[in-house]
Each structure stands twice: as C-alpha cells, then as structure tokens.
Amino acid sequence: MSGLITSSLARKVVMALSGLFLVIFLVLHVSINLASVISPDFFNEASHFMGYNPIVQYAMQPILIIGVIVHFVMGFVLEAKNRSARGISYAKYQGSANASWVSRNMIYSGLVILAFLGLHFYDFWVHEMTYKYIEANPEDPTRYYAETVEKFAPFWRTIIYVVSFGLLGLHLWHGFQSSFQSMGVNNKYTPAIKKFTKLFAVVVPLIFAFIALYHHLNPITH
C-alpha cells in the first residue's frame, strides 16, 4: 500500500479524484448562482441554507477547502517533479505538434484559477466569516442577493471574474476527461466522456460569466 501513497500513478489518481470532486462542486455552485438571475428569493433561501446548515458549514465546507488545497498542492508537486525530469531542456521543442495547448499549460490555467480563488475567497468567504463570526451579526436570510449584485458593480472585478472563468473553461477542457484516463477509464465510453467534457467546459464557465455580467449590467437601484 505504501506505493499507493508515493507513486507517480497514485499522484495522478489524487489529482483526478480531487479534480472530479471540484467539478461536482462547480455544478452545485453554478446552479445556485443561476438562481440569482432567475429568482432572487430562491437565491437568498439557498444561500442562507448553505451559510447556516451545520452539515454544509462544518462537514462539506472543510472537505471542499481540503479538496482545493490537495488539488493545487499536488499540482505544484507534480509540476516541479515533471520539470526536473527533463534535465536539460531542448533547444527546439515543438510541443504544439503533438499535444494541445491546454493540455500542456494546465499549470498556468491552474495558477490563474488559484489567484482568482484568492480574490473570490476575499470577496465572499472572508466577508461571510467576518459577518457571521467576527461581527456576530444576526441571521438575515434576505441579504445575499443584494450583497452579490453589489460585488459586481465595479467593472474591474467583473472583468477579472469573466477572464478567470475563461481560464477555468480551458482547465476543464483538458482536466475533466483527463481525470478518467488517470483512474484507468479508457473504453467505449471515452468518446462520450470527451464530448461531455467539451460541453461542460464551455457551458459552465459561460453561465458563470453571464451571471457576473448580468449583475454588473443590472445593478440594484434604490
């Protein structure tokens, strides 16, 4: 079993499993976000549930944070090992002749997403923790919609979000289907998995970007 923790193949599986877990989380996230465009009341309800339900707060949230940390720490570890495995670099290397740009640059799309997560955590998670635990404000199930729309008032923040969603799409384009290969799934379902990956990598970031732009263009007027 010790090899299962330290081997190259095990590291691939860790990347795959944590990545797939984050994909599932994205589905939940985009669904709730979409409610902010369709039904602000439902968005408030859902956000309040996520913010105060003990299972979400004390079980799912820590698991999610661990999932994110595992994915990017392992990503860095693998990148460092892979770079050192080359030794002397080629004077001429035609990477584009045999592999896609996205598959070769996962570290860069990943780094942008990580930087975005820093801003995103500051915008929403830090704000939420401060509101609930530091300022110890009372529960207010109606505040979420207005707070969200207000976040997208500055143009710069909206643009950073939209660009980051673009990079998220690129990351998913390779990562989603790649995680199946890493776990040993390459069979008659693989073409379908690859097609679904492309659909997912385009549609989900587009919805995220649409929501950000929608709130920027439709501020709450008092």
Binding site: M1, G3, L4, S7, S8, L9, A10, R11, K12, V13, L78, K81, N82, S84, A85, R86, G87, I88, S89, Y90, A91, K92, Y93, Q94, G95, A97, N98, A99, S100, S103, R104, M106, H174, S178, Q181, S182, M183, G184, V185, N186
Partner: protein, 248 residues
C-alpha cells in the same frame, strides 16, 4: 540540396555540451536522414574532425535505436516512423535542421546524440516477463484459448520497440507509454495473469526510481510513437496498478 545543421555536441557524459553549426552541400532528396549524417561524418573525418556520434542499427524501423530529436520532434516531422525511415525529401533546400539527443534525466547523454537508455532495460527487468518452468514437456501456446480482441491488443502493445520517443516527446519526460505497453502485453494474456499484480507494482516502482516524470495525459507520446502504441495502455496500467495496490 544545401542543408544547415545545428547539432548537439558533447564529448562525454561528464562534460558540458553545446549546439554546433554545420553546412552540408550536395544532399540528395532520396537520402535517408541517417545517410545524410553519414555524409556529414565523412566530411568531418576527411577534415580531421571528430565525427558526430549517433545511435543506429537495423535501419529498417524495427530496432528503435536511432534516437534523434529533429526540429523539436522525436524522429522528425513525419509520423509513425523512426529516424532511419525519414528521408531528406521531407526537407527543403536551405532548411536549418536542429538535431538533439533525447532529453530526460533518466536518459543521460553518453556522447553527442547518444543517450543511455538502460533505464528502460531496468524497468523491463523489474517485471516485464513471465516465469515459465522448462519441464521438458512444453505445452503448445496455441492450445490456450485467447480472445481475439485480447490477443490483438496484447500484440499491439508488444510492438513497442523501446525507442524512447514517448519520453522524448512528453513535456514531463514520462515513461508511462513504454511501461504501460510492457505491462499490457502480458496483462492481456492468461499466461501473464499469474504475476500481474507484482509485475505492475514492480515496474511502476522502477519507473519512478529512474526519475521519469508523471503523465499528464497530453497524448504527445501516442502521436510520436513510431509503432502507434495507444494511450489505452496507460489507462490499463493505471487500472492494474490500483487493483494490485488495493489487494496489497
């Protein structure tokens, strides 16, 4: 044709190397790439210079010895061939061709364009075999029924010639296509089942010990493999490895 060459020259494993430029006139389009290098070496010898050392053997695409990175691609611009099958008609008059050895920490340069690929031998020795007792009463291999699909997949994996193009092409210098082909060719056959778990665990352990990188599923290896070894083999190795690890 007049060809401009930039070739990696390195006196020995212990010394530092560098790219050296050569100009070669009178190159014929029907020359093989290795013949072109032979002509260059004749020129160098006639001038009293050290010829360029490069690996080659069968010159018919089956031994996997001719390991050259040509213009940033293993075995040059054409697909599904080794360097000895590459011809100068793939290039034009006045072209500059950059020739480098395979680059991987696990494949140290011995001299010029020759690298030490014994890391592959050690991976093979770690489990790429089946133990058969020679009792004097051999059983005809054809007497064991094998599903056609499995036999074909095993044979396809066994066509790997161990050239190392997969490692050279991979941005991570990963040897997973090679190792997985060697794992697969046995894992798919009933004779290979007995030692399947130990085989995959030991071969992967050796692969990691040699210092190859990790696969990130870019698929570059599959594209550059002269024998068209498929990524399905890597998935099979991953399955075999997980199953063997969980079994303990």
């Amino acid at each position: 044709m007049k060809i401009y060459l930039k070739i990696w020259r390195q006196k020995s494993a212990a010394t530092k190397g560098s790219m050296v430029q050569y100009t070669l006139d009178g190159v014929e389009s029907d020359m093989s790439f290795l013949e072109m290098l032979d002509v260059l070496n004749e020129d160098l010898i006639n001038k009293g210079e050290e010829p360029v050392e490069f690996d080659h053997d069968c010159r018919e695409g089956i031994c996997g010895t001719c390991s050259l990175m040509i213009n940033g691609r293993p075995h040059g611009p054409d697909s599904r061939i080794t360097v000895c099958q590459l011809h100068m008609r793939s290039f034009s008059d006045g072209d500059t061709i950059v020739i480098e050895p395979w680059r991987a920490k696990a494949f140290p340069v011995i001299k010029d364009l020759i690298v030490d690929r014994t890391a592959f031998d050690r991976i093979q020795q770690a489990g790429g075999y089946i133990s058969v007792n020679t009792s004097g009463r051999p059983v005809d291999a054809n007497a064991i029924p094998i599903e056609k699909d499995a036999a074909d997949a095993s044979f396809n994996a066994a066509t790997c010639i161990g050239c190392g193009a997969c490692v050279a092409a991979c941005k991570n210098a990963s040897a997973m296509l090679f190792t997985s082909a060697k794992v697969s060719q046995f894992a798919l056959l009933p004779q290979g089942q007995v030692e399947a778990a130990d085989r995959v665990l030991n071969m992967v352990r050796q692969m990691d010990l040699e210092g190859f990188g990790n696969c990130t599923n870019t698929g570059a290896c599959e594209v550059e493999c002269p024998k068209g070894i498929s990524l399905e083999n890597i998935a099979r190795m991953n399955r075999e490895y997980l199953a063997a690890s969980v079994k303990g």
